[in-house]
């Protein structure tokens, strides 16, 4: 424990000044612009992949440099990474269940192709 914590503290005490924050801030602003720009274009199924890829890069920059996980000790890194992995497990395993169920057994389930583009309000005069 002593060795571990000493190593973590030594690296944590490095001061990078504010230059690093300015650089990260600039990149975050540019990526925000990019995600709005690509969000307005239509890449079909790639939309969500592009948007999530940009969000993951932005989030990594915030966690590593604004939140100093880059300089943090191995224990704190492990804690945070494990929490992210468990969110991934939660979503993946739930999807494993959803995708292999008989569609009709899902509550209120409607096949994507069956959904009318816009259904008019019931009082829309028949």
């Amino acid at each position: 424990m002593t060795n571990l914590s000493t190593k973590a503290q030594e690296s944590h005490h490095e001061d990078h000044g504010i230059g690093r924050y300015v650089a990260v801030f600039a990149v975050l602003l540019v990526l925000t612009g990019v995600t709005v720009w690509t969000g307005e274009m239509n890449f079909g199924n790639w939309n969500i992949i592009i948007a999530m890829a940009i969000a993951i890069v932005k989030a990594s920059l915030v966690v590593l440099f604004f939140m100093h996980l880059w300089d943090e000790g191995p224990v704190n890194r492990l804690i945070f990474v494990v929490s992210v992995i468990f969110v991934g497990v939660l979503i993946l395993f739930t999807f494993g269940d959803l995708m292999f169920r008989i569609p009709g057994l899902l509550p209120n389930f409607i096949q994507a192709d069956d959904v009318p583009k816009v259904m008019h309000a019931p009082h829309g005069g028949h």
Binding site: F25, I54, N108, H120
Partner: protein
Amino acid sequence: MSSSEAAHSAHNPYLAHHFDTMEQQDHAARLGMWLFLATEVLLFGALFLGYTVYRWMYPQTYQECANLLSIPMGATNTVVLITSSFTAAWAYHSIKVNQIKKGLALLAITILFACAFLVIKYFEYKHKFDVGELPGKWYSYEGLQAPGANLFFAVYFLATGLHGLHVVIGMTVLSIIGYRTIKGRYHSGNYVGVELGVLYWHLVDLVWIFLFPLLYLI
């Protein structure tokens, strides 16, 4: 721990008696904060799961609902939060190097950005209440009547509402840090409290980085 080392660090009045050194105390504090942040990730993770499941069930409705949200307002709020994250990091750095006045000014700017975020969010919410883009049985927007629209707005209000609550808590934490800094508690010899409060603020930014594209863009 040798007695000379203990004596060396004993002059720091911020060192609690149950820790040997300031470094050990800071290490324990950071460990506790990261454990807390991990639980926050799991908390929001459950909401993201809800979003994903309903999106999978109603893909077209989700896209049509996302089109009802104002991208300019969402994008402005993204820039506001990213900027506030930057000023918070800068405030932490300033207090760490004993530039106390600069640190306080930057904390105040960060809190102002947080207020700006909430004001923009208020106008977004107000519009949705006015036109009836609301969760569950309260959904009454006639421009889009599709199955799943009320679920989209249930997720929207839960996710942005919980995030908004975090913004308010974060503002409170930053205010307390500012008050304690004025009182002379935080400076180059004792700054881990500032560091942890600012970590919480970055988490607020982190959650929004995912909420913005998921709700507004795709």
